[in-house]
């Protein structure tokens, strides 16, 4: 049992931090420096979780196979800790999070981070369901964090209804799987399902398809994959910007990682033989649809936050390309893309946050002439946007390169088409990213106020932009980590 607890030490640290923050929130009531202190505490807690993550002993199954300690999980957990920290810092920098309720905010982020950490190492349907809920419940609350704000409330309502519905479906799907295989354990799911399939009765197949895909729906909604994406633009637009930034990174990556685990362990992957049902193709179709719908819808947006929301949907599609291909190289590509995506997407939202901070607006018009009004924000946002497009020498290109290379390496026509759709989508995406760039640099923002970025925002932008640049030229350390995560090294 000791080993078992050690294996989730980071989560335990998070839980402890959460409690301490809650207590401190009460103790420091009324103090003007409360948000800063809480942030510091949370940061230290996340740091501690990170340190404990780095020092974790060995790998293997823990808690009777409920959770698994493996490089993939550790890699992503580290990533989620960063995402959580960023979410909290963003909150500190944003006026959208009321100061009086800052403790609440931190606690919710920490809880959701804990959920993402647990989800990525779950190896059991029950554990997946519970972790997913642990992500979802704080997320709902976060989306509706600004109580008086109608948009925020609306976003929360949409999110919660959508989330509840998909959770319900997922639970039903899981029950079917359980009924077919008699187990909730992912590793034993595959052989059991194989045996059932061998019996050849049509209801088995239908049940398998329904079970698998309903379960997938629960995850796909977290990833905001088409056709379970509809909530995302509204929620991303309505939620406070720090929340949006966090939601678009942490839970999304967690969903992708869980999907990898669920599909390849539960249904067999092409690496280990024929999958039980053609999930690579299904996921591939979902990926294509997600990329295309996300990018196309982003074309017409005037609200930058909403534009980025659609763009993050599209990026979920890119990540799903890796899931669909499913080879270790593809998983490495996902593992590489996820942190890169975290950097550039968080960076972009931070810039949005900063602009909103000064102008109170999120529309394209607020960005006109930003290149002269606030060169720092504009230049770094441009870096993030072009990185999101996938232009070298920025990190986004490396991520896409790995993804498409993994797809082409397999050499199957379907993946070739997938890659083709992917690259064409990056062309489409250029159009709307460049619209924003155009507004910032090419249009004249006569009469608009200048927005100097607050110093912390500027530094944080730098912290995000520099790696975005450097990783585009010198990415071997990250690639090595990703290879390790994917079991390739």
């Amino acid at each position: 049992m000791g080993t078992n607890l050690w294996s989730i030490l980071p989560e335990l640290v998070l839980a402890g931090t959460l409690v301490l923050v809650l207590a401190a929130d009460l103790l420091l009531r009324g103090r003007p420096d409360r948000p800063g202190a809480l942030t510091l505490m949370a940061t230290l807690g996340l740091l501690g979780a990170g340190i404990s993550l780095a020092t974790l002993p060995g790998t293997g199954a823990f808690f009777d196979g409920l959770v698994v300690g493996d490089p993939l999980g550790r890699f992503f957990r580290g990533l989620f800790l960063v995402a959580g920290a960023m979410g909290i810092w963003f909150g500190l920098l944003s006026e959208e999070v009321p100061r009086t309720r800052f403790g609440e905010f931190v606690v919710l982020i920490l809880a959701a981070t804990m959920g993402t950490c647990l989800l990525v190492q779950s190896r059991n349907l029950l554990m997946i369901a519970v972790s997913l809920e642990l992500i979802s419940l704080p997320s709902y609350a976060l989306a509706g964090f600004r109580r008086g704000d109608r948009l925020s409330s609306e976003a929360a309502l949409k999110y919660v209804l959508y989330g509840a519905a998909s959770t319900g479906l997922m639970l039903y799907g899981m029950s079917l799987l359980y009924g077919l295989a008699g187990t909730l354990d992912l590793p034993s799911l595959a052989p059991a399902l194989g045996r059932e399939l061998a019996s050849g009765a049509p209801p088995v197949r239908l049940g398998l398809a329904m079970g698998g895909l309903f379960t997938l729906a629960g995850l796909a909604y977290k990833v905001s994959a088409v056709p379970f994406h509809a909530w995302a633009p509204d929620v991303y637009q309505g939620a406070p910007t720090p929340v949006t930034a966090f939601l678009s990174v942490g839970p999304k990556a967690a969903g992708v990682a869980a999907m990898i685990r669920f599909l390849s362990e539960g249904f067999g992957s092409s690496a280990t033989g024929q999958p039980f049902f053609p999930w690579p193709v299904v996921i591939g179709l979902i990926a294509m649809a997600t990329m295309t719908v996300g990018n196309l819808a982003a074309l017409a947006q005037d609200n930058v936050k909403r534009l980025l929301a659609w763009s993050s949907i599209a990026h979920a599609g890119y990540l799903l390309v890796g899931v669909s291909v499913g080879t270790p190289e593809a998983i490495r590509a996902v593992a590489l893309y996820a942190p890169v995506y975290l950097l550039m997407n968080l960076g972009a939202f931070l810039a949005v946050l900063a602009v909103r901070h000064r102008t109170g607006a999120e529309t394209m018009a607020a960005y006109r002439g930003l290149g002269t009004r606030s060169p720092w924000i504009a230049v770094s946002l441009t870096v993030f946007l072009f990185s999101l497009t996938g232009l070298p020498p920025l990190a986004g290109f490396i991520g896409k390169f790995y993804l498409f290379a993994a797809a082409l390496e397999v050499g199957r026509p379907f993946f070739l088409v997938l890659a083709l759709v992917g690259v064409l989508n990056s062309v489409i995406s250029l159009y709307y990213y460049a619209r924003l760039v155009r507004a910032m640099f090419l249009d004249r923002g006569a009469g608009l106020p200048s927005v100097a970025a607050p110093r912390p925002v500027a530094w944080l932008l730098l912290v995000l932009a520099v790696p975005t640049l450097v990783l585009g030229l010198f990415w071997s350390p990250l690639a090595a980590l990703a290879s390790w995560a994917a079991g390739l090294s």
Binding site: L137, G144, D149
Partner: protein, 101 residues
């Protein structure tokens, strides 16, 4: 005639269908939530039923967890509904349409 697995599965399928139908047709947020509960319970019923008919204890454990999850979700959801009601004086989900394309 004893109640067997097929009966329970059928019942759960009916619950699922009813739940889905409710979700799809109701405009009242609370009513939608009730539909969601039906769907959740369909899943839980399945789990428990399978567990009862020789698939081991896991299903029942899951069932217990499921009840807790459903409760927690309902709490959060109702809180949000309340918040929305405060903001909009209505729980008609169709009026939450400020954000659209």
């Amino acid at each position: 005639m004893s109640v067997g697995l097929p009966h329970l599965m059928f019942l759960s399928a009916v619950l699922l269908a009813l739940g889905l139908y409710t979700m799809v047709t109701r405009r009242n947020a609370v009513a939608i939530l009730m539909g969601v509960e039906l769907v959740l319970n369909a899943g839980l019923l399945n789990l428990v039923a399978f567990s009862r008919f020789g698939r081991g204890i896991d299903g029942q454990v899951f069932g217990v967890f499921g009840v807790v999850l459903a409760a927690a979700e309902a709490v959060v959801a109702l809180a949000i509904v309340l918040q929305v009601f405060r903001a909009m004086r209505s729980v008609d989900a169709s009026r939450a349409d400020r954000m659209k394309e």
